[in-house]
């Protein structure tokens, strides 16, 4: 899950009353929704101009419009600080969309595709961690930076890196660099994965599974899947969610490793550690899926829940663009990015082969 969060000074958040904290969310949240709606509006405008007025207008999905508009705004102007608290709510909208999309999965599908995803994730984890560690050594990256890159690329992008930062006592510069690398690769995936999927004539399920396994950050994985189609987007979320559930185990593994070398604090209560790192929103996703399977909702109500999840994703997609600062990503140094790129290319190819092999005859 993507939580590119910079902790505010504790005093500043604790001393402010709740109503003021909530009030502070309004400008950034309004910007997220504004850009998201503008993306959807631009798609509708394009459709109108092409079909009614016969004016040439790019045929681009609302998902990409929201990201492009967000990127344009976020990189053209330096957003004032008053937008920051609200912009951070993109994480809430993303998780809300994911929980609601659970209505689109019957429990049987969830167990079938989720089980398949878990097997593929386990293989992907071993390969990802091994390759990243090897590349880190070859390019002489700092060991903890290598650990962060390995965690970020194998599991859940930025959230995993943030979770690992405290567990392995890494330096903030390493955290920042690792996050930059993961965000850069996520941005590249937005444009390369759909093109590869179309070139290979991949089905919605195969593509969604591949995206969920190969794209690191949950927001980028969701968007990259949605760019290919609704079903691909849902499957990408499912696969990515299965991958995210491993976050605690991998971070715990690294925490124990660095603690054994005397460079991080020992983890006293491992079960508690696993629970703390577990992304709880997954429980909501499963709960909604169980309700849908039990016949709690009618067909039209399920349709409404599906549409609601799409509305929730709109500001999240806008947030992907708004929070990506291209100039800053470039300034983070070429070696971590290169290690990330090489590792991700390898993983994209391996996961593609895994998905094509696993889904042959099972899913289209």
């Amino acid at each position: 899950m993507s939580t590119q969060t910079v902790p505010l000074p504790l005093e500043s958040t604790r001393q402010r009353p709740l109503w003021r904290q909530l009030l502070a969310l309004i400008p950034g949240t309004a910007l997220l929704f504004g850009v998201g709606f503008a993306g959807k509006g631009t798609e509708s405008l394009g459709h109108y101009l092409r079909t009614t007025r016969h004016i040439a207008f790019p045929q681009i999905e609302y998902v990409l419009w929201a990201i492009l508009l967000g990127l344009a705004i976020g990189n053209a102007v330096r957003l004032p600080a008053l937008f920051r608290p609200g912009l951070a709510t993109y994480e809430l909208w993303l998780k809300l969309g994911i929980v609601l999309v659970g209505a689109k999965f019957l429990l049987g599908d969830l167990l079938h595709l989720g089980g398949l995803s878990l097997i593929l994730v386990a293989i992907e984890l071993v390969l990802s961690l091994s390759v990243m560690m090897m590349l880190g050594r070859v390019f002489k990256l700092r060991p903890k930076l290598t650990s962060l890159l390995a965690i970020g690329s194998s599991i859940c992008g930025v959230t995993a890196i943030m979770a690992a930062q405290g567990a392995i006592d890494s330096e903030e510069q390493d955290t920042s660099t690792a996050i930059a690398a993961i965000l850069t690769l996520g941005a590249l995936a937005l444009f390369t994965f759909p093109a590869i999927g179309h070139a290979l004539h991949m089905g919605q399920q195969s593509y969604g599974l591949w995206t969920g396994l190969a794209v690191d950050n949950t927001a980028e994985a969701t968007v990259t899947g949605a760019l290919y189609g609704d079903e691909a987007g849902r499957i990408a979320i499912l696969a990515k969610t299965a991958r995210s559930s491993f976050i605690g185990f991998v971070v715990l593994g690294y925490a124990v490793y660095w603690a054994s070398r005397g460079q991080a604090q020992h983890v006293e209560h491992k079960a508690l550690f696993l629970w703390q790192k577990f992304p709880k929103f997954i429980l909501g996703f499963v709960a909604i899926s169980i309700l849908a399977t039990a016949g709690f909702f009618s067909a039209s109500q399920l349709n409404s829940l599906g549409n609601l999840s799409r509305w929730a994703f709109l500001p999240a997609f806008a947030g992907v663009g708004l929070r990506t600062n291209v100039r800053d990503l470039i300034h983070q140094g070429w070696r971590p990015i290169l290690v990330g790129v090489l590792g991700e290319i390898f993983l994209a190819l391996v996961t593609l082969a895994l998905v094509l092999f696993a889904t042959h005859g099972a899913v289209r």
Binding site: A180, F281, L305
Partner: protein, 42 residues
């Protein structure tokens, strides 16, 4: 945090996003189930 960090434009949420997402989703699902919200289009 590095002054040129790619994460500088965000702040930490003052609430638990996971719990909030679950509560809002279940509340909306209940409103849809009870037909308080009859239909949501796209």
């Amino acid at each position: 945090m590095d002054s040129r960090s790619p994460v500088r434009q965000s702040a930490k949420l003052a609430f638990n996003a996971d719990a909030a997402a679950i509560v809002i989703a279940l509340a909306l699902a209940a409103l849809i189930r009870l037909n308080v919200i009859p239909h949501i289009g796209w």
